[in-house]
Symmetry: C2
Subunit: 104 residues, 2 copies
């Protein structure tokens, strides 16, 4: 297997795919956690789903180009691709994060 997980290059990010990735409450939650905490391993997210489901959501985010996932020993470290996103879609991530105080 590729020891590198699939990530789209920065210039290939598609708006519809990014918006779709962000349009799920669970994933929005994950993105907010990442914006707050910087980077997390997969187990650090407090989402009310099974780990296989979490893995699925992280994959959607990763394949849309929203997050970056790297191997760190037996763990995965997930972080926001904030710079790539902002370069491709200026203001989008900021607007989403500003509007997404979860419960609001």
């Amino acid at each position: 297997m590729s020891d590198q997980l699939h990530h789209p290059p920065a210039e290939a990010l598609e708006l519809a795919a990014v918006l779709h990735a962000l349009s799920d409450p669970i994933r929005l939650n994950i993105v907010r956690s990442l914006a707050d905490a910087g980077a997390c391993n997969c187990g650090a997210f407090t989402v009310p789903v099974a780990k296989s489901t979490l893995s699925h959501h992280l994959r959607v985010l990763r394949e849309a180009g929203v997050t970056l996932t790297t191997r760190e020993g037996t763990q995965r470290v997930v972080s926001l691709r904030a710079e790539d996103l902002t370069a491709r879609f200026p203001g989008l991530l900021d607007a989403v994060l500003a509007s997404a105080p979860v419960a609001a």
Copy 2:
């Protein structure tokens, strides 16, 4: 039936719903047309789908609070709720429109 179509009030717009409404290429196309042309009747959109499908997409946009639809005789006039969206999610619509030059 209600001669008024259902539209969520400005303060009830949900981010995930708005993002989901915008995450479809066809709907993104519609939103861009509206941003350019101001307001259109349903038939004015040049989208490659059947009219029933277009009607469905317009409903999704309307129920997410992205567009406003009013009756105008036998036609419907569809417009962007740009002010409501910007008030609720500052910068979001601008970012989407700036990034959505369709073919880009």
